[in-house]
């Protein structure tokens, strides 16, 4: 996927509006998209959007997580705030749906990586393993949650890292069995976007072969991305931005290898 500055401007406007929204899944998705693009040239505007999400997350202590945005905005004070919020969230929330998992778990993993002892990774993995996922949308959300957790955790706790990867692989296998040319028209936009994003990210992490999965994932989500501008569903709009961001990173990784876009753990 190549950078399209015009499309980005349009996406940027749409995501900025979403900061005021109270749809947790859409907002969380939007904040992750902003985080992915904030580090690119000309990403200052995306960083501003991310900072707005972080401020929103700081204000709303319990009703909306925003942990990931707080940390990814890069401010040390925000990172500590996120860590405190993560601890209090974890005691009270129940991760019982794929939506809960996507909203909370990657942010919790990120917080553990930045400020914790890494001891809670195992609990977060178990929480994801226990989430029931039946529909295509569920499986796509769980896939994306799993690879985000992989990206944001300390890879050296390797058995947990591969535990998340196993969740991703399981969902991929089940989704592949459910899908085919005859079911293409019936696939929901959300499931297409989240699963494509998960596959592109998994390619970049080396969890699946780029040669096998990257281009099919881009082709699959292309039809949805074409009409994303006209969508009235904030979740679709946010997920489109996320796939776009991940597509750019995947392209960089394919073109420039591990030194640019490849995931570095440190």
């Amino acid at each position: 996927m190549k950078r399209n500055r015009q499309a980005e401007s349009s996406l940027l406007l749409g995501l900025s509006d979403m900061v005021q929204e109270d749809g947790a899944l859409a907002g969380e998705t939007a904040s992750r998209a902003a985080a992915a693009l904030a580090h690119y040239p000309g990403g200052d505007s995306w960083m501003n959007v991310l900072a707005d999400f972080a401020a929103q997350g700081a204000d709303q202590q319990t009703s909306w997580c925003g942990i990931a945005a707080l940390i990814l905005s890069g401010d040390e004070k925000n990172t500590l705030l996120a860590a405190r919020k993560a601890q209090s969230c974890w005691q009270h929330i129940k991760v019982s749906t794929p939506q809960d998992a996507y909203i909370y778990l990657p942010g919790l993993v990120l917080s553990e990586t930045k400020t914790g002892t890494r001891g809670k990774y195992f609990d977060y993995l178990k929480a994801l393993q226990d989430v029931p996922a039946v529909s295509e949308e569920d499986l796509a959300l769980v896939m994306e949650t799993a690879v985000e957790c992989m990206e944001w955790m300390d890879q050296a706790v390797y058995e947990v890292y591969r535990g998340f990867q196993a969740v991703f692989e399981n969902c991929l296998a089940r989704l592949s069995r459910m899908r085919g040319p005859e079911t293409e028209a019936l696939q929901s936009d959300a499931s297409v976007l989240f699963s494509s994003c998960a596959l592109l990210r998994a390619c970049r992490l080396g969890a699946v072969l780029t040669s096998e999965y990257a281009e099919p994932a881009e082709k699959t989500c292309a039809r949805v991305l074409k009409r994303a501008d006209e969508s009235t569903d904030p979740l679709i709009y946010a997920a489109s931005a996320l796939v776009y961001a991940e597509g750019i990173r995947n392209r960089d990784y394919r073109d420039y290898g591990r030194k640019n876009g490849g995931v570095l753990w440190s």
């Binding site: 002892t117 890494r118 001891g119 809670k120 990774y121 195992f122 300390d154 890879q155 050296a156 706790v157 390797y158 058995e159 591969r162 080396g206 969890a207 699946v208 072969l209 096998e212 591990r258 030194k259 570095l264 753990w265 440190s266």
Partner: protein
Amino acid sequence: MELKLLWAGMRSAVVRLAGSGLYHARTPYELVLSDGQRIRTDTVVTSVYGLVPGQAYEITAYQGGQEVGSAAFVTGRESVTLNVRDFGAFGDGKHDDTAAIQCAIMASRKRSRVLVPKGVFRVSSIFLKSHLHLYLEKGAVIRGIPDRDRCPILPGTIPTTDGKDEKNFGTWEGNPLDMFAGIITGLHVSDVTISGQGTIDGGAGKNTWWKDFRTRNVAWRPRLIFLEDCSRIVLQGITLQNSPSWTLHPYFSRDLQFLDLNIHNPADSPNTDGLDPESCSRISVIGTKISVGDDCIAVKSGKIYQAVKYRTPTCDMRVENCFMQDGHGAVTIGSEIAAGVRNIRVKNCEFSNTDRGLRVKTRRGRGQLSVLTDIRFENIRMDHVKTPLVVNSFYFCDPDGHSDYVGTKRTLPVDERTPSVGKLIFRDIEATGCEYAAAWIAGLPEKKIEELVFDHVSVSYAQNPGSGQPAMMERCGKESAAGLIISGVKNLTLRDVTVNGCKGEPLVVDDVDSVART
């Protein structure tokens, strides 16, 4: 006393005068060869050089003018010597000689010798091939170029084409992670000998490989010598130094001999273990001197992911007549031992000035396949080793090492993540100049150490013993001249154990099911 041949190559051989000492001979002696060579030596294990291929030799040892032993051997046949300079290597310490040396290696055939003559040969990564004899002449140095851009990468895992499995190439601290290829790398090779009086130098320094050493920068740091899935490998006589990370790392390999080596890294260099056999079998380490910035020898078998996947313990290893100096542990089992370790014999060795002498380290999370058993340490002399004997089941390693799960002394449920320590025997151990504690033994409350035997163990302390942590675990306070501090053991046997000059009780036990003392 008995003079025994340990190994004979094409141009060199290794002998041992058994009964003359541990690493250092109690009295220097002379070796006389049938070709007229006379070698004066003060080590129990000695290499002889300048031999002619395909020749029969007799070698006799004399001590104080008396013959004390003799042996006979025949050197291996050699068809041709391939001098790397003939393949374009400069050896001037300036040019990159990687391609030339690699060319010479690839050109070699069975029974040919690839010769690295005197000079400094800069390389990025050299790859071995089967049936290779690489010989480093005295004054020859193969030196690594510390430049990431020139180093190939061994990927941690690559999914197979059908997506059902994966192939593993690189590894870091027991996990299949991307790493730079070693200065010398062997991948699936057999029948390789690297011998001589020369040096392999990793070229590492504080501004290069040892800078920001905890960070993965593109990939994890290379080893000096990495051997993956290799068999029948002999390393003899050479010096290994300034390694970027672990020095000599055989991985899923077997039938390995490391004879009369000199392994040296600065005491403050990070993760520069001397020898780390990982998931290997039938290993002999004889007459080797190791002085490094981490554990001298650390026996490993990976972390839990690799253990569950490959189920390959390290087993059948002997360490004899070696000298460990400086470093964290002299001989360590662990901490990445998730696939288990068994049948390890360490005997007739000398340790000096290491933090710990004989050390077992593990932790919760290594898994139920992590079973250590049949491990014996015999006839060891330690001097100025801060804590001679350590078994630590709460080792706070890895990113989650300081979590409550790893460090808590509460009894946790035994599950698939709980490791086991079986039988450990410490026999005929003498430690002088000890500082922190004679022994620090800490087993898990939920899975105690099965059996611990101290048999003829004697410990005495330095005149002004320092104070420090005997073991790397949470809530292990500083000790000074403490005795044997033992917890979490099922059966403890103490036979002829003396602790002279400790402060406080010579034996402190807690949560030990049975203690037998004679």
